[in-house]
Symmetry: D2
Subunit: 468 residues, 4 copies
């Protein structure tokens, strides 16, 4: 038997290829849209992808199942569980076979058995994996967003992100039942989940790729709950704000995720041309580091450094149906950003300019803008002397754990809205944990017309360790 | 003044960027369609591309002028010379400014002066370059396909490739007049031509990037001709066969070359999927080396190794309006091939499979086919014992310079046609100079259904140096 | 807790980084010598490597433990178990701390507990991993070469590879005891082994990265044995030939593996220069595919295509204390090969020539040599008509499972020795499973002076599927 | 004939390969130490490098002639002209053949004729190139640092950089004679010089790769001088400060430039390890952009962004005989910097840490330091209110052309020395043209212990165009 795990760091998301080496047949479970990674792996392993399936209708990324099935000629398998409201609307059109509790996916000696494990979502499936060459017992379960390492999939997303009122508690209760059912299964089963640390689909995910059912029974908080009531209370408590794009993802994944023939390859443009697009109202994203952006940037551009949290903030802050242009250190950065955006369904990355060396640019294209970067000493002085307003852009949970007393709280994802009522001439100082999120916020406020925006380098972590 | 030369090895074609550093303005002359190279250079040099122009309606590659002007907002400048039949049909639609003898392109201190230099084509322009910061005298001339290092642009292409009967001799005569006019210009002028060694636009081009007018007067055969008659006779003698795609290029470049937003990025497919496309009649090109192809390949695929002559043989042998799929060593190879094909207007590179490791493939997809690779001893035996037919696929010129006595001659570009009347069961042995072209030919004959095709490794060069 | 697995495909070897995210401290277990991968991971994860250790004295690759400790300032931890003969000879010189059963490695909240698990080797340790933030119970065990997915570490290597006579059975018996001890541990423990499919350290390793103890008890053949005697018999049966370099690795890893400051970066040389080295008796390895090599190669060069089995055959066939030169498709290939060789302690990769295009080379450097590639029909004819000798170069196990009746068997790793007594003028035909190993063998025999060597393309797999 | 020019942007230096395609033999003139570029070109062009030579003992980069000759087996050819003091001290040891006026280098049909052209240096040679296949007349001259496009090689370096007192005027006079001799040669000769714009070997070099003798006679200021006296006065006027490393280069190139077997490949280290080296007094260079460096950097590190001027400032500011460690965005950057440093003989690039993401670093390794980046408004206020000292770090020529009235002038290359006497507690503000050089200066002063250093972003160019 072959088992390969694919982990996308930016999505904190795991997909799997499982196959039988005797017959060279494989299934891919929960693929994202950069489907080339599965094709490359299949080529490396000498496998033909015969089936593509997914555990549930994802909310945090756009599904690549339909696309991968199309590009390989594989059969698409989708959940038929969950009731009328949670059927895949495009299943028939895509020629998919529907899966129900107890169904099998057979690959030579290897078999996946379908388990209906609702809670995170109504239609959620898990797949028990049996290596028939060794035994008739399963060796593990692909649990998707049902059971994580140290956590369970949150049942509140449908209500909070997709706006289906009243589903939160009902979801928590069926999730409890799914857990109870798993409690009966053998301890030795591997638990192979759909997310790792950093995903917004759970609140306490660890950085260990997989677990075992016995160990989860021992340490996972959910299995320690005495009864359903305790579980329901706890699982709905302190979940992080779901990103706004989750509702959109959910809808697209249910109604039919668009298929990409190839990843977008943004055209190389001159900086003039990108500046012209910005003047016409298009979104221009500067992918460089916050330090480079602060040194000099095109007024009106948004700074989303291409790093770990890029996809997340892009989902909060970028438009879905409008062209996007990049200012990038080099072409690889622009291509990488365009690729990452497709994972959450933002496909119109149309062009970029390489601004490795901005030195010559200045007067040619437009006067450049700086971001004022300050430390806490300067921040304190500015609040005292200049009547500057201090804004904390971290999550509500972080804010509750402690913040600078004089600060106001606006979550970065809501800063554009939240700043509407503020005086555009008043100096604004932003901070977060390290200076990353507040730098994004600063670019956003500058683009929104605030004339004096300052960013506290180092954020709350820097009050003692950063010396100027 | 800034002067940069861009040389594409596979096209053997030169384009130029000339600019004024005081004002940061530049013109690009004779760009191909991989316009990113000019945008990257402009960014590196701190130049804004204000104008794009070309010396003439090219026959050997698809012009990137229109595309580059669109992507930069530069003004497009096109020749108005050459008479009614040789006007750019898309000039008005593209908002181009027309150029005539004596016109100027001004870039800060730098000026290009338009010279009408017909012969290779009727509308052909050259551009004299003056660095006004230094002097009012020109420092050199961009001569396009009028005057090369050691040769002149051939005046027979219109007739031979584009089929405009009777233009060959007339062209040769006006070319003579253009040369006579240049004979009056100062010796110290740099000659900056549009092609280097290997181009089919001339017959004796050297591997020196540029020359001077005085030196060409001394050594270029054209300047040594006593009179027009001698020149006309010589210039029409022994020109290589023009590739069949030249006629197509010419027409597209006159009527309006299509504009690419981005280079095609062929989708990664499974080998099965590529094999399925082949079965449906699509063209499948195997880009690997001839050695790898001979070891085992998909029956029906054409072997065009991605190297020096790729563009040339692709122009002869690939379709223009049909999808093309690749079998490639890796993704870079497939992307590179797709890029090269766009230079000659073949834009439908739709997918590829990475067949780095073909080992596992065999029975899954289709039985693989080998090419029999032999040496001259085996070839001689096969002709004697098996009634094998020996075919020389080199150019007519090479054939005339000497060939194996028992061989028949069919130029590789015409092998598909030429082999139609041959017995498909008779063993066929192919040779060329080194084994490259005959390997392409062997793949072509195998795809055409010949059951026993053998390739002489090492070609005519190998009769003594290759030991088996 | 952080747990990351590093898998080297060519070695089929797994190493691990385990750390505590609260304190940013990590240990690396069983590192190979390309230590940059651990440093890169530590940087990505924000971890400082505080400890480096290994499960045992490896025989199949050169340990990177000492090197990684030196480059990071981490403490080196080595086994003190196993008795006098199996002590690390360099432990004191390297300032290592010695580990015994019951010792701990503490990283913030995370603890590794040392278990002595002899059998594969006398000093072998396993490490139970406990995430103290969650529980005082272990979540899994790093089992090194003691317990694999579906198999156990072979106890016969010391005798067969290192020549320590009489250790085979004793090893098998203590291995049985180690297993019995593990049988008492909880089913839910993850089993995180040191090798995957393809390693010569076991005979039936699966392509699943990890397992659980409960599942292994259920399916692993070793746990199914009724008693010690049955186990000892089975574990010594049908083990693959250990590569000759294992003895050398073992000695170096015990006495002190040499430390690399950087991976060797072979100098770019001209093909002439490489040919000159070959004439002087140095080893020249052609890294290209067997198809390219067959088309034309430098006489005397050895063809080891840079792919999956490169490290394995290099260990069998290349010298340890002599310079090695490469002929490569490009620089990346030469660098990759040099890197791979360092993993097994071959560090003198001194130069390479890029022979992407061999066309021009022929007469300049040396007459090129071809390899005759044939199919089974041709092989049968040659045996009948030319008195050709057919040699099967596969493993003994493969040979026993079935072979061509008329063939002789010589394992590829012993072909150089085994061919000494054969007639150098008699035609020799080689085959293996697919044509890969026999191509290596053909290059080896050609280099050894055999004048007529032929390779059966497609090997035993091709008797029906390959058509010429 | 083949003629290829190699241009290194950072050195602004040109080297050439000239060969005969009929025989496949080539010479390389003025190679730098990244000799792989010549070997790659020779492979591409099918040339064997038979000779390596150089026009003179270079002062601005370390010669790669000896190394290239060693790696190819080519004959090394060195100037015997220039008198006793300017003989290559290692010529005999390296087995070089000595060249004198009138000697020839013959490559098939192609011939280089040696011309002694002293002035820039006493032993300086030029090489007239004749393509014997075409004519017995030369087509051009490789003029090294004798004659540039629009300028001549400065004759003051020996005195100013190498400290050979009294040679400046004598050099200028023999240079005049060399020019007079060239005035007799034909106008049509191509002039192929050893440097382009940006080199410190001349003062007015253009960005046109080559010229012609006739055109230079027309526009080069040197040819316009009425007599020797006028020429001598002008050529010694306003030459830029020669970098301090020139004296060192000169000596090494005369006495025997060290030979590299391979480019240094700095080891990947943890940031901790690099910080430890810094604490022990080693040089640590942060290669990131000035914006990233300003945001947070290791106290004591020097910021030399890896870009256009990297080699130049490295020559001024880095030690020759001590280990150097890098903090880099990624490994490619560290490798690129190590490569560039070898071009000027700085070979001890021993390690690097990848600090792509500095976020996690802070307290672990050391408190990070920020650089205060200000605009002119803030600078003016600081000078008035905080008694800040304003320092202009540009060249003397730029300073003379205009500067901020209240500023002091210290050339960046002398800032370490020049700042010794300043008060370490007084605020210091640095500026240059754009903010690049002053950012380097700021890092240097911070490392030297100045407690309050501020950099004016945008430099003198920014007084109007940068808005905060």
């Amino acid at each position: 038997m072959l088992l390969r795990r694919f982990y996308d760091d930016k999505l904190a998301q795991a997909s799997y290829m499982i196959g039988c080496q005797a017959t060279g047949e494989a299934v891919v479970v929960d693929p994202h849209r950069d489907t080339a990674v599965y094709l490359r792996a299949a080529a490396d392993e000498g496998m033909a992808i015969r089936y593509v399936t997914e555990t549930h209708i994802h909310a945090d990324f756009l599904s690549g199942s339909r696309q991968l099935a199309l590009h390989t000629g594989a059969e698409l398998l989708l959940s038929a569980e969950g009731g009328e409201d949670w059927q895949y609307a495009f299943a028939e059109e895509a020629g998919a076979r529907l899966l129900r509790e107890g169904d099998h996916i057979q690959l030579g000696n290897v078999r996946l058995t379908v388990l209906h494990t609702p809670g995170h979502t109504p239609e959620h499936l898990s797949f028990a994996v049996t290596d028939g060459a060794a035994t008739t017992e399963a060796m593990g379960v692909l649990t998707g967003d049902f059971l994580f390492v140290g956590d369970v999939g949150r049942p509140d997303l449908l209500e909070k992100a997709a706006g289906i009122v009243g589903t939160m508690e009902a979801g928590a209760r069926v999730l409890w039942k799914s857990l109870k059912r798993f409690e009966e299964l053998p301890d030795y089963l591997q638990i192979l989940p759909g997310h790792g640390a950093g995903s917004a689909c759970g609140k306490a995910l660890g950085s260990v790729p997989s677990s075992t059912l016995g160990y989860e029974k021992l340490v996972n908080w959910a299995f320690q709950c005495a009864d359903e009531a305790e579980f329901v209370a706890k699982v709905l408590e302190d979940q992080p704000e779901p990103p706004v794009y989750f509702a959109h993802m959910k809808r697209m994944n249910r109604d039919g995720p668009p298929v990409l023939d190839e990843l977008p390859d943004p055209s190389r443009l001159s900086p003039d041309a990108v500046a012209a697009h910005l003047r016409e109202g298009d979104t221009v994203v500067d992918l460089r580091s916050r330090g480079d952006f602060a040194s000099g940037h095109l007024p009106g551009s948004l700074n989303l450094p291409w790093g770990q949290d890029f996809t997340n903030w892009a989902g909060w802050l970028l438009p879905y149906d409008a062209p996007i242009y990049f200012l990038a250190s080099d072409q690889d950065q622009a291509r990488g950003a365009a690729r990452d955006l497709t994972l959450i369904g933002i496909d119109r990355s149309e062009g970029f300019a390489d601004i490795g060396a901005l030195d010559w640019w200045s007067a040619e294209v437009a006067p450049l803008q700086r971001t004022t970067v300050i430390d806490w000493r300067e921040a304190d002085r500015a609040m005292e002397e200049d009547d500057a307003l201090l804004i904390d852009v971290r999550s509500l949970t972080e804010w509750k754990e402690g913040h600078v007393p004089s600060a106001a709280h606006i979550h970065l994802g809501e800063l554009r809205e939240g700043a509407r009522t503020l005086d555009h001439e008043r100096p604004i100082i932003l901070y977060c944990r390290s200076g990353n999120r507040s730098a994004i916020g600063a670019s956003l406020l500058q683009a929104a017309g605030f004339s004096d925006v300052r960013n506290v380098e180092g954020g709350v972590r820097a009050r003692e360790t950063i010396h100027s």
